[in-house]
Amino acid sequence: MKLLVCISKAPDTTSRIAFTDGDKRFDESGVQFIVNPYDEWYALVRAIELVEQNGGSVTTITVGEASCDPIVRKALAIGATDAVRIDAIPTDSSQVARLIANYAKDQGYDIILGGKETIDNNSSAVPAMIAECLDLPYVALVTKLEMSGDEATLTAETTGGTNNLSVKGTFVMSATKGIAEQRIPNMRGIMSARTKQLQVVEASAVEISTQVDVFKLPPLKGDCVIVDADNPAELVRVLREEAKII
């Protein structure tokens, strides 16, 4: 089987979030970058597991500049077969999706996987958009994926519950917690990643339909009002009378 996994560069979850350039751009100074956790822990690892069981290849695809190469090498160290980087600055979901779809359309992938969202842009949109660009079925929030020939059986989260689904043939999916366990790359993986192919391709022409005017940080909370532990009734009173919330 031939699998394509979309991976993004994301700031480490403990990063301090700050902006620069008139608050129009994320300030990357001093920030440690990682593979977006949903792409890595879930989509990539499950794809690698499936190929270990059934044979085939896992290609990762990233839209970004050369600064993405370290996180792409990490994905190769975890066990991806090879990697593609589309050389463009990722600006919005539909641009990224169209770039990936334009690349993938003639490549004969059996499954295109991504994480459920990136932890910086939080759109949960790219896999669904790729599916639409390529007119493919799409399953969101997959927590379990099993393959039998060309038929996939999936468990997926939805509003208020989980769906049991099946799809025949090529499809696109987003992965979330439960589908696989995080893998730590071993020394052999890290060494072999250095010689695996990372192909850089030119971006196709796509339009960008949104632009960020400004980023803002949330207002700081006021001081926390401490209530005596022996008198929770006082908490109930303030929640009712001051916060007017219960």
């Binding site: 979901s93 949960s124 980023f215 532990a229």
Partner: protein, 310 residues
């Protein structure tokens, strides 16, 4: 210029998420608000009261998002809608991006309020910041963050319900079964108005009774921190935080959770945050409105009793 709003129904009534996005669409004040419903509806599903004038009703409860997307596109084209609004819940997030591509529309995911002109505010960096995004296309698809706008009754009259159908092709994803995550009548976590959450401070899954009792007294949903989900003390779908669910209830009560930055990212948009923790240095107190420094095993039963006494 009319606005199309995609509505999910349950037992013939618009869901709370549906009523919220219909309220949002009405507040856009760009013209007539027309709802698209695929599935059961009784009467107007409660949509007239939140400003919907017409319901386009497709009797087939479509389950494949490529079909739902085609239906939405055809409905939007038929009424000349320049804005299509979805709830940014799991269902909306699986359809709305497809519609944006199909209609060549700019897409705003996770909108948290009404636009100023064509600039929308949305959550980014997992709730640690907002982006003010300008859409440069004529047609816009918007997914509204659940609980960010609320249900606003406009006192509108009953909406007209008209049958609608379109060629949506065959379902390519087969739905073989649905399992509800929680018992009947409880609200999905992203839509919950009150949430009681607990962490490692509870010491083990067998101690969750006191958390559930408090949640029950408040009519709240239960949630948990990541370690608790990872250790299997609670189901994964209860995990709130950066790599779990992002919530914005009116009231969030955190019991025995230290408040790591990743946890705060998922909950810091709650209107009122209450923290109960034995450690007065727990970082969560800095993000809280109210706090109790004390042992959850002593505080929670007393708090539950005080609420039940109301």
């Amino acid at each position: 210029m009319s606005v199309l709003v995609y509505i999910s129904t349950q037992a013939g009534k618009a869901t709370n998420a549906g009523l919220e996005v219909a309220s949002y669409a009405s507040a856009l004040q760009t013209g007539e608000v027309i709802a698209l419903v695929a599935g059961d509806i009784s009467g107007d599903g409660g949509l007239g009261a939140v400003g919907v004038s017409k319901v386009m009703h497709c009797a087939d409860a479509l389950t494949d998002n490529s079909q739902q997307s085609k239906l939405t596109k055809e409905a939007a084209l038929s009424i000349g809608a320049k804005a299509v609004v979805f709830s940014g819940n799991s269902i909306g997030n699986s359809i709305a991006p497809r519609v944006a591509i199909a209609m060549n529309a700019g897409y705003v995911a996770g909108a948290t309020g009404l636009p100023e002109g064509k600039t929308y505010t949305r959550n980014v960096f997992s709730g640690k910041a907002t982006a003010h995004v300008q859409v440069t296309t004529e047609t816009i698809v918007i997914a509204v963050t659940p609980n960010s706008f609320g249900i606003k009754n406009t006192g509108g009259s009953e909406a007209v319900v008209e049958a609608f159908s379109a060629d949506v092709g065959e379902a390519r994803v087969t739905l073989n079964g649905f399992t509800p995550t929680s018992s009947e009548g409880t609200v999905p976590l992203p839509e919950a108005i009150r949430v009681v959450s607990a962490g490692r401070g509870l010491k083990g899954p067998e101690n969750w009774g006191i958390v559930e009792d408090l949640a029950k007294a408040l009519g709240a949903s239960t949630a948990c921190s990541r370690p608790v989900g990872d250790m299997g003390w609670r189901p994964h779908h209860e995990h709130v935080g950066q790599t779990g669910i992002t919530i914005r209830p009116d009231l969030y009560i955190a019991c025995g959770i230290s408040g790591a930055i990743q946890h705060l990212a998922g909950v810091n948009q709650s209107k009122v945050i209450v923290v109960i923790n034995t450690d007065p240095e727990a970082p969560f107190f800095k993000a809280a409105d109210y706090g109790i420094v004390g042992d959850v095993f002593e505080v929670l039963p007393k708090l539950t009793a005080a609420i039940n006494a109301l």
